[in-house]
């Protein structure tokens, strides 16, 4: 093994490695800035539930900040961080250099321009219809689409240069995810078939596909690469990963209408969505089992490795959050939980407990390999525990509060009672959210230390073949 590493390192130009490392670092740094911004806005929003007259005026009103929080999280933080990592994984797992560093930089600029312009537009009141996750005015979403196209081209070009016949599974997920999301974005932008109820059905489709065909595959791509790397053992079952890939692809696009149960959308569309929401258990449980079985018998390593702990939480978040999503799709449960804060708990369990923890695990596992700089253990510890405890408080309080809200409505008490009964849970949400935000400050500090900050250098690992553990 060492011989092949040396031989390979010699064949890859030093400057290319540095280029890849600085691209990875730049994506991670800008994403981290978006994380701090988006969750800072989130704290303000949470505070407004207790003090609605705090932060008055058009620019700070709840209805403008709320889509800023969600879009900045989605398209600023998670998208940019995942794409940066996808580049690193594509080049390293294919044992080659990036197809085009220039395209990667152009993509980064486009992602950031879109997120910045979108944020400003929303704050000025240019909201494209309150349609969830596609609130940015459509020209700005075109910029985001351009960033996706650039990324897809670059990832495909990189993997096309691979040195082995096989394409590592991570790249299936990341390349697939970027290509499918191009389609999602086009379907969302084209206006000709989106009037009235027709737009409702497209909203259902979009809301779920923007999440499930974008964040899910890219985050799973990280698991498939980082886990074998950290544990130095192959993924439990490559075939199971392939099965999860195809079932996720076929089932996920069909379940969007479960966001509109009991709406005037055709009943068959809603029922189809429920059926396939159950079918989603196949890729979710298959994928989760694969990750957990890869970790089997190595729990002692976990205690010594924060990257592994982040990934373990991410896997559990994926398993629990997605299974909860299936449960929520049943009409009997949706009758209670629809429109309540339970939904907010669910979206944080998935976007935070799964996607965000997956990103963190990936960044801590891979960024030091690229830059040769390690974060301090205290910073890792602070980040991990505040994020875990904070998100636990957050999700539990909204799940309980949301259930109370839904039962209140069913029992027929005056509506305002459901607002009053949420107060305590809103406070706990704020407590959890504050811890989460503080953990992001620790993360930002760690990112700084892994990139440009002063710290003990380790030798950067150039072109270490992850494929070794795989084939």
């Amino acid at each position: 093994m060492p011989t092949s590493v040396t031989a390979h390192a010699a064949s890859v130009d030093e400057t290319d490695d540095r280029a890849l490392a600085s691209i990875f670092a730049a994506y991670t740094i800008t994403a981290t800035v978006w994380l701090l911004f988006a969750t800072g806005v989130g704290i303000l929003l949470a505070y407004k539930f207790g003090a609605p007259d705090f932060g008055r005026g058009a620019w700070l009103t709840f209805g403008r900040l709320r889509p800023i929080h969600t879009n900045a999280t989605f398209y600023g933080w998670a998208s940019i961080a995942l794409v940066g990592m996808a580049y690193y994984v594509a080049a390293r797992s294919s044992r080659t250099v990036l197809f085009s560093a220039k395209l990667a930089w152009i993509g980064l600029a486009l992602f950031n321009v879109a997120a910045l312009a979108g944020t400003i537009a929303l704050d000025l009141g240019y909201n494209d219809g309150n349609l969830e996750y596609r609130e940015w005015p459509w020209p700005i979403r075109l910029v985001f689409l351009a960033a996706l196209v650039v990324t897809a081209w670059n990832l495909i070009g990189t993997v096309a240069r691979r040195r082995s016949e096989d394409i590592y599974l991570s790249n299936w997920y990341t390349i697939g995810g970027v290509l499918w999301t191009c389609i999602v974005a086009v379907v969302a932008i084209l206006p000709w078939y989106q009037y009235g109820l027709g737009q409702v059905s497209v909203s259902g489709y979009y809301m779920h596909n923007a999440v499930g065909m974008w964040f899910t595959p890219l985050a799973l791509g990280i698991f498939y690469y980082a886990l074998p790397k950290l544990l130095n053992r192959p993924i439990y079952s490559y075939a199971l990963g392939v099965l999860a890939f195809w079932t996720n692809l076929v089932f996920y696009p069909i379940i969007g209408a479960h966001h509109f149960l009991f709406s005037p959308l055709p009943w068959w569309l809603q029922t189809t969505a429920i059926v396939f929401s159950v079918a989603m258990l196949v890729p979710v449980w298959g994928g989760s089992a694969n990750f957990l079985l890869t970790m089997r018998g190595r729990m002692r390593d976990l205690a010594h490795s924060y990257p592994l702990m982040f990934i373990l939480v991410g896997v559990i978040g994926y398993l629990v959050g997605s299974t909860q999503g299936t449960a929520e799709a049943f009409r009997s449960l949706q009758e209670v939980w629809h429109f309540t804060n339970f939904t907010i708990g669910h979206s944080h369990l998935t976007m935070y407990g799964f996607v965000t923890f997956a990103i963190w695990g990936g960044v801590y596992a891979l960024l030091p390999l690229a830059t040769g700089r390690e974060p301090g253990r205290a910073g890792l510890m602070l980040h991990f525990w505040m994020a875990v405890v904070g998100s636990f408080i957050y999700v539990i309080s909204l799940s309980i509060g949301g259930t109370i809200q839904g039962l209140n409505w069913k029992s027929g008490v005056p509506f305002i009672q459901s607002v009053v009964d949420m107060q305590a849970y809103h406070v706990w949400r704020g407590v959890g959210g504050s811890l989460m935000f503080l953990s992001h400050v620790a993360f930002a500090w760690n990112v700084w230390r892994m990139t440009y900050g002063r710290c003990a250098k380790i030798a950067p690992v150039s072109a270490l073949p992850a494929g070794r553990a795989v084939a």
Partner: protein, 334 residues
């Protein structure tokens, strides 16, 4: 390269087909849904108001879809596909931090209430967590001709001057009041046609008021359930008349000490709750806000409960009514 083409190209092709079938085709099919009977496009002013509603993200907290579920009955009839013909962008929403607004133009038709509530929701609903939209209003020394200053409670009014709505607030109000569900064919008469009954005699104290029932603080109806009655009052009446029964001076009349509420003959009281009221004269003050009718949304027992609560709370001592009395008045029609 072939393998790459198979995975990337193959999966993308599969996805494109699914996106077409689950996203685009239902979109095309449902976009052509014709408007239901009585569903009208918005006026220019109402459209402007709808754009303001969207710009400020109102639908992140307010849904506009009534589900065919018992708990949604208070918001109107179940939404029908034809209701959304003119609604682009769609505003069905996914959260009910605040109540559903599908039918708010009927449930809360009072311009005065809507303005006060937009200016600061806590002025009429103390527990509300809705943002104040006070930037859509202006403070002036004196309301210009043709513009009515908003009758804010003292605690919320500016120290000097009066508050008037900007064109933005006027458009938003026009949109909110336009949110009315037309009746579905086959339904009984819709609650949409708010009656303009002017009950001038609300203040008239009838000489025949002296009945043995006066002073009975506890309603006699065996169906009366004090806790339920108070909940019904909170849900349906307290936004204007307030939990104290004192109303808001200059905006909504008091029920505490109200002559019609304390009258031994409950006919007027019952008819106002059933059919609503416009231009109420209470204690010599004329209130311009219309009161919505409750005949369509509440049954006779609930209305009797509410009336008996009002007749026994806050020191009132009107004679209690029975469910049969309400049914009798309902049968007489408007």
């Amino acid at each position: 390269m072939n393998k790459l083409l198979l995975i990337a190209g193959g999966s993308t092709l599969v996805y494109a087909v699914l996106a077409l079938v689950m996203g685009v085709l239902p979109g095309i099919a449902l976009s052509g849904m014709p408007p239901g009977p009585g569903v009208e496009p918005l006026t220019a002013l109402q459209s402007k108001g709808r754009a303001i509603y969207v710009a400020n993200g109102c639908s992140y907290c307010h849904t506009q879809q009534v589900r065919p579920l018992p708990q949604d009955k208070i918001f109107g009839r179940p939404s029908a596909p034809g209701d959304f013909a003119y609604q682009t962008p769609e505003l069905l929403g996914s959260e009910r931090t605040g109540p559903d607004l599908t039918n708010i133009g009927i449930r809360q038709p009072s311009e005065v209430w809507q303005y006060i509530h937009l200016y600061n929701p806590r002025a009429v609903v103390p527990e509300s967590v809705m943002p104040a939209f006070d930037w859509m209003f202006r403070v002036v020394d004196k309301a210009p001709a043709g513009v009515t200053a908003i009758a804010l409670p003292k605690a919320f009014a500016p120290p000097v001057g009066v508050v008037i709505p900007t064109p933005e607030a006027q458009a938003l109000l026009a949109y909110l009041l336009s949110l009315k569900q037309p009746a579905l064919p086959g339904d009984t008469a819709s609650a949409a046609d708010v009656s303009a009954v002017t009950v001038g005699g609300v203040t008239a104290t009838d000489a025949s008021a002296a009945t043995p029932q006066v002073g009975a603080a506890t309603p006699a109806d065996e169906h009366y359930d004090a806790a339920k009655a108070q909940a019904l009052f909170t849900a349906n009446c307290a936004a204007c008349h307030q939990g104290t029964g004192e109303g808001l001076p200059g905006a909504f009349p008091p029920l505490k000490g109200n002559a019609a509420v304390n009258d031994a003959d409950a006919t007027t009281h019952i008819r106002v709750v059933l059919h609503g009221l416009q231009g109420a004269n209470v204690g010599g003050v004329v209130y311009s806000s219309p009161m919505p009718p409750f005949a369509e949304t509440l049954d006779d027992a609930d209305i009797a409960n509410i009336i008996n609560y009002e007749r026994s709370a806050w020191g009132n001592h009107g004679a209690p009514v029975t469910t049969q009395q309400v049914a009798g008045e309902r049968a007489k029609g408007k």
